[in-house]
């Protein structure tokens, strides 16, 4: 199976975020990491390849810094990578990102395309499904299991409140992968070494420009949300905090 995995680089979970001067995005000087559901998408692609053979290709869009997530994918076992490299990709809406990916892979045939089910930064939860529509492929979302079948694949969709559903699908198909589908592997030292010699194709914005449109939605303002609930801050030394909490638990919450 030939599998494409779409990976995004996002600010690290614990990174303190600061707004830029125009208040439309964050300042870029934070640490970044691989978007968590995308890490699971990559893991699942590598496992499918180990079972059925084939090739795993990782793709991302973003400035030079985002090459790091491709290096990580290659070190973990992806065979090659595609980097749509430009600062402009950071501000793309999901529609344009999907269009850019579709244009970058137009000469290739993948059996499966994986994305994480949503990103930790925008959280659109749309890029994978839009890509499926642009390519004319069937799709399924929030996937927790993938088995090869005679006619294609059988996937397990996660539904709300602990429900699931199996779905049979033909190939090629696009799947958005849920965190926790399997256990993530670490890159080995050998893997990291080998990654240096694996092919990484760079695609400039100009090469996909003709496939793009204007963004169809625009962030007018980014801001720290206003608190609506009255919260009492409990502070002091750890011992004082413990005493204050127990006082509240006894007299206000009445559980002690």
């Amino acid at each position: 199976m030939k599998i494409l995995v779409c990976i995004k680089q996002v600010p690290q979970k614990d990174a303190p975020l600061k707004l830029n001067e125009t208040g439309t995005w964050i300042r870029e000087d934070v640490s970044y990491e691989i978007n968590e559901p995308d890490a699971y998408a990559l893991e699942e692609a590598l496992r499918q390849k180990e079972k059925h053979g084939g090739e795993v290709v990782a793709i991302t869009s973003g400035p030079a810094r985002s090459q790091q997530v491709l290096r990580e994918a290659l070190a973990k076992g992806a065979d090659r990578a595609i980097h749509l490299e430009d600062n402009a990709f950071v501000g793309f809406d999901a529609y344009n990102t999907a269009r850019a990916f579709a244009a970058a892979i137009k000469d290739e045939q993948f059996d499966l395309i994986f994305t994480g089910l949503q990103s930790d930064d925008y959280g659109y939860a749309q890029t994978g499904v839009i890509l499926a529509e642009l390519l004319g492929h069937p799709h399924a979302t929030i996937i927790m299991q993938i088995e090869k079948s005679d006619s294609g694949i059988r996937v397990k969709r996660e539904l709300e409140a602990g429900y699931f559903q199996f779905v049979d699908m033909p190939l090629p198909a696009v799947l958005t992968i849920q965190s926790g589908i399997s256990k993530l592997r670490y890159a080995t030292l050998i893997g990291i070494k080998q990654a240096k010699n694996k092919p990484l194709r760079k695609v400039a914005l100009a090469e996909v420009q003709s496939a793009l449109s204007d963004n169809l939605q625009k962030i007018e303002r980014l801001y720290v949300p206003q608190k609506t609930k009255k919260t009492e801050i409990i502070d002091g030394s750890p011992n004082e905090i413990a005493k204050k909490l127990v006082e509240r638990l006894r007299n206000e919450v009445r559980v002690l």
Binding site: K13, D14, P16, L17, I26, D93, A94, Y95, D121, G123, Y124, Q126, V129, E133, P138, H139, A140, T141, I142, E158, L159, E160, A161, G162, Y163, F164, Q165, F166, V167, D168, M169, S179, G180, K183, N215, L216, Q217, K218, E220, R221, L222, Y223, V224, P225, K227, K229, T231, I233, I234, P238, I241, A242, K243, L245, V246, R248, L249, V253, V255, L256
Partner: protein, 330 residues
């Protein structure tokens, strides 16, 4: 402006979140001087249409086809794309459910447009409509506008509007049945029955006191201190999803949209950031205490008591104080 709300029915029931979307649509229609219509999609859905028609709506459509049951994204997009092309709403609103997330990006793309997903509200800025959504897992918020021509699609987060505020109409709204055909070959996925994993061993829905751990606990062995706190309080231990994904606690202790929904007297969240998928499972708690080292963590938005600090410093003395208090009681 013509506004269309597409409500959700599943397994023989109208999803209650649909009332929230109707309430949102009524508010938007009032603010923009628009008209509001609603649609329900599926096989044999006229009963749902009648139920919705009791609300203040200009019209309700039952979009019918045997090919719409069971749900598939292909059939839903086929039916709705055709309906929207004829009906020509300027704005299409839906709840941000797992089912809607599954088809709405495809529908918007097929309609040559876009969806602002998972919104928590809207604003009017002059003539411009802005939709507010969470960014960075709730750490920031953004006001987002549409820049292209319609039809515009918006989905609203569960809990963004109050379903009980959906206004009833003076008289039942007219219902029109729209029969659609789903030609062979359109539907490519074959869904099987919906099921629940083997019965859960732990039922937290009745728990009065819950101590929940998140990724801030850092390592599996540290779960022991949360467990000790839960035991001291006489409560149950629960977790955010990543803890269960890692196998540090079993899945049936997961709280949130894909886990259990709880409403204890006390929910003590240790090292949980407060992503919406977690919050939906515990916001009904009577009292929420959050311990988090990040003062900006979204969990503090809904906490009654906030402790900004390192849980490893705070939990051990808290266990001691709780034990002392209990001993004094007895």
């Amino acid at each position: 402006m013509k506004i269309l709300v597409v409500v959700e029915q599943r397994e023989g029931k109208l999803n209650r979140v649909s009332w929230e979307t109707i309430a949102a649509g009524q508010a938007l229609a009032a603010d923009t001087g628009g008209t509001l219509e609603a649609a329900v999609v599926g096989a044999g859905v006229s009963g749902y249409a009648a139920e919705i028609a009791a609300k203040k709506l200009a019209k309700v459509y039952a979009i019918e086809s045997a090919g719409l049951e069971p749900y598939t994204p292909d059939a839903f997009v086929h039916a709705l794309k055709g309906f929207i092309a004829t009906n020509q709403p300027a704005l299409v609103m839906m709840p941000h459910t797992y089912q809607v997330r599954d088809f709405v990006p495809k529908l918007a793309t097929a309609a040559g447009s876009t969806c602002i997903s998972d919104c928590i509200g809207y604003k009017k800025d002059g003539d411009k409509l802005l939709f507010t959504r969470q960014m960075f897992q709730g750490k920031l918020a953004a006001d987002v506008s549409f820049t292209g021509a319609g039809p515009w699609f918006v989905t609203f987060q569960n809990g963004a509007f109050r379903g009980d505020k959906a206004e009833a109409g003076a008289a039942a709204a007219p219902v029109e049945v729209v029969n659609v055909e789903i030609p062979a070959g359109v539907v490519r996925n074959q869904p099987h029955e919906v099921f629940k994993e083997a019965k859960q061993a732990v039922d937290l829905t009745q728990a009065e006191i819950i101590v929940a751990v998140g990724r801030g606990i850092k390592e599996e062995k540290n779960i022991a201190i949360a467990k000790a706190l839960a035991e001291a309080l006489g409560g149950d231990l629960a977790a955010s999803r990543p803890i269960c994904d890692n196998g540090w606690l079993p899945m049936d202790r997961q709280i949130g949209s894909s886990g259990q929904t709880v409403a204890p007297k006390l929910y003590l969240a240790l090292g949980i950031s407060g992503a919406i998928q977690h919050i939906v499972g515990m916001k009904g708690a009577r009292t929420i205490i959050a311990v988090n080292k990040d003062a900006e963590a979204p969990i503090f938005e809904i906490a009654d008591y906030a402790v900004v600090g390192n849980l490893f410093d705070i939990v051990p003395p808290l266990i001691e104080e709780v034990k002392k208090a209990k001993a004094a009681n007895s």
